[in-house]
Amino acid sequence: MSDKPTEAAACDRPAEFEPKIVAFVCNWCTYLGADLAGTTRLEYPSNVRIIRLPCTGRIDFNLIIKAFEIGADSVLVSGCHPGDCHYTSGNYHARRRWILFRELLGALGFDLGRVYFTWISAAEGHKWQEVVKEITEKTRQMGPYTSLYQSPSAGVGATLVVAPEGGHKGRPYDAGVWGGEAELREACRRLLEEGKVKVVIGYGKRGPVFVTRPEDVEQLVWNDRCLANLTVYLKRKEIRALGRPAIVVKGCDERALVVLEKESQIDRKEMHVLGMACQGLGEAKCESCDVHMPRFADEVIGEADQHPAETGERWKSLQALLALPDADRMSYWATEFERCVKCYACRQVCPMCYCERCLVEKNRPTEIEPSATAKGNFAWHILRAFHLAGRCVGCDECTRACPAGIDLRLLNLSLAKAAEEHFGYRAGMDPKAEELIGAYSLQDKENFIR
């Protein structure tokens, strides 16, 4: 350890900024490398505080966020070189998560210059010394991390509105009837009469309806106000108790079925899927939709043009956000999240949020504070977005449901973009594709890892 003169030593000198670096390191490589640096008397700054973990695979994103929350000015995550992991593949899993998490941090406006990833082996005491020295100096130049979760002065946030329009609240519910409604009712009547299903989960005039008797199929509608993603009901125990369901889905909702089955939450054979051809609902997601026709339904009702959207189209609404400088991006989200009341409407409408005990409900330790403060709100939205990496199908229900008008879809889009650009992966499109998190490739991109 080096003896840097501390500010406490000389009372006639103004206190210099001493960066606080938190390093999460793996036990078998980097920790031993740091140990080697010590035993071979290589000096490195004492600004670094080390947390030893068995493997980088153990490091979840919430540890990185926690380090910043408690006051770290930079965070280092370091482990074994690819191929050398003591547990064979923990670092590959970690690498894949880091690739995605960096994109999310970038979209939120975190200063990525303060997050470092390295591979340091047990023999690389020199590298440890160099890396720690470099990070400490760079952080000293950058200064303390004071802009974390900071919003501009109250009320100013409106000037940073970058999100596209899509205000549907207040639009009347009785919209025009599309083709297919009569066919849908007929199909449901038949299914109920023949006892093939016990309940139809469909759209009613005012919202979702659960039709159990053939004579009630007149309650079902099909029009451009059928916004909800009904697949969320497949996991609700009150609905499951009704028996074998038929479910009405649009092409976008159907993608959720693919993900739910891949994650062992539903069995396609235990339900009847009525796929509706959709001409577009006028939502932002509809502009770049390429699933107007359902692809895996038991029955398809209606016809629609299935045009493949240009990949770039999907990220169009993200461009305005990504064009902002980092600090402005964080101000934008800080202003948005100031309005969050932690109602969890975003979570409850999401078919992928099926955990019986959500992480925000866990304490000992409290990983995500439930309070509607800047810290609690950022942590919650980061958590939810990241847990949806490679799983969010872009139904945008979370954004529609938010009573505070927060554009949550931008966070999901940033991760969907990362998934597609780095891994060619789109959630819910191919039932046979390997999952994104939980799998890895030896070719996962490395260029941000030193």
Binding site: I70, S153, A154, G155, V156, G157, A158, V161, A163, E165, G166, G167, H168, K169, G170, Y173, R206, G207, P208, V209, F210, A228, V232, Y233, R236, K237, E238, I239, R339, V341, K342, C343, Y344, A345, R347, Q348, V349, E361, T366, E369, P370, S371, A372, T373, G376, E397, R400, A401, P403, A404, G405, D407
Partner: protein, 337 residues
């Protein structure tokens, strides 16, 4: 004879209050198509027309979504508690809807019955509310079904009524209202005609009798299946007031705070043993209607609802109190509506 103010003068008044360092809030368009009550930094942000009502309620300013109760520090010598500074700045809520203002006298009861909530009371005393009578309503509004109306005066310190031509009639209802508008009003011959509100959608007395006698009715499972158990209705409701108390901090220091809570969350009544007396969504929905239309009236003589319709508009699946209650009432009285 009446007292009036022009829109321009009203905005000037608002600007003056902001310059004085008071906390001023009112409807703002935070996003295209999304109007919320929010703190104002300039009077230009205040939106006075073109929407039915803000998607949130005023209770945030009297009963915040997160409020620190006290702090603690654990030192080598023991535990020190630190008091939280109560709000000292006066606040003015401009252009509130009558259904928001009327909620506050209703809430006063529960915050002052077995325990006088000083945090709530001090904010109440420091707040002046200016309401703007509703010129329009939509199919989610039902203030007239719970004894209120578009120009209701309850809870308001001053009521503004549109006269047309950018003018408002001003009725100062309390001393606070009078002193706020002191010297700012013009005498006028024009008197506003009271707007008519939505037609009555149900009889509250019928609802109260139904929930009392039909706790186990199959009505509840049948009509509440769509509810997903989020907090959007409770958190945007002007009268919902349940809260959770949490300790947040680390081994050195932290705070005890209260946060809004919703009876629709599955965890709301979960016991530490694992038993939940309201184990499914129908029982939780039933409780919400019961609380608003029977329990609170029995206890405090007030319906815990002002018919603002936020629950219906904000519910992601189109539910909310109105949809359940209107169906309940029509099935109870046997008449089709």
């Amino acid at each position: 004879m009446s007292a009036t103010i022009s829109q321009a003068a009203l905005r000037e008044l608002v600007g003056g209050l902001i310059a004085q360092g008071k906390r001023v809030a009112g409807p703002c368009e935070v996003k295209p198509g999304c109007v919320l009550y929010a703190p104002l930094v300039s009077s230009a942000q205040l939106v006075l027309e073109g929407f039915i009502r803000p998607a949130n309620s005023l209770k945030e300013f009297i009963f915040p979504k997160h409020e620190e109760l006290y702090g603690y520090r654990i030192t080598g010598q023991g535990i020190e508690l630190t008091e939280v500074e109560p709000l000292r700045a006066e606040q003015v809520l401009i252009a509130a809807r009558p259904c928001d203002a009327a909620a506050l006298p209703i809430l006063d009861r529960v915050f002052n019955w077995d325990y006088k909530d000083e945090l709530y009371n001090s904010r109440r005393q420091l707040t002046t509310i200016v309401t703007l009578a509703c010129a329009a309503h939509d199919d989610a509004c039902f203030c007239t079904s719970v004894g209120l109306g578009p120009a209701a005066e309850r809870g308001s310190d001053a009521l503004l009524l549109e006269l047309g031509g950018g003018e408002y009639e001003v009725r100062c209802l309390t001393g606070k209202g009078k002193s706020l508008f002191d010297g700012k009003l013009q005498a006028s011959e024009r008197v506003a005609s009271l707007p008519s509100g939505p037609e009555k959608r149900f009889e509250a007395a019928v609802v109260r009798a139904f929930v009392k006698e039909n706790l186990e009715s199959p009505f509840w499972p049948a009509q509440t299946l769509a509810c997903l158990g989020c907090g959007a209705c409770a958190y945007t409701c002007p009268t919902c007031h349940c809260f959770d108390i949490v300790d947040e901090g680390n081994i050195e220091r932290g705070v005890r705070a209260r946060n809004w809570d919703s009876c629709q969350f599955a965890l709301f009544t979960l016991h530490a043993s694992g038993h939940n007396p309201r184990p499914n969504q129908p029982s939780r929905q039933r409780q919400r209607i019961d609380h608003k239309f029977r329990i609170y009236p029995e206890k405090f003589g007030e319906i815990l609802c002002t018919g603002c319709g936020n629950c219906a508009r904000n519910c992601p699946v189109g539910m909310g109190v109105l949809r359940v209650v209107a169906t309940l009432e029509s099935s109870a009285s046997g008449s089709a509506r």
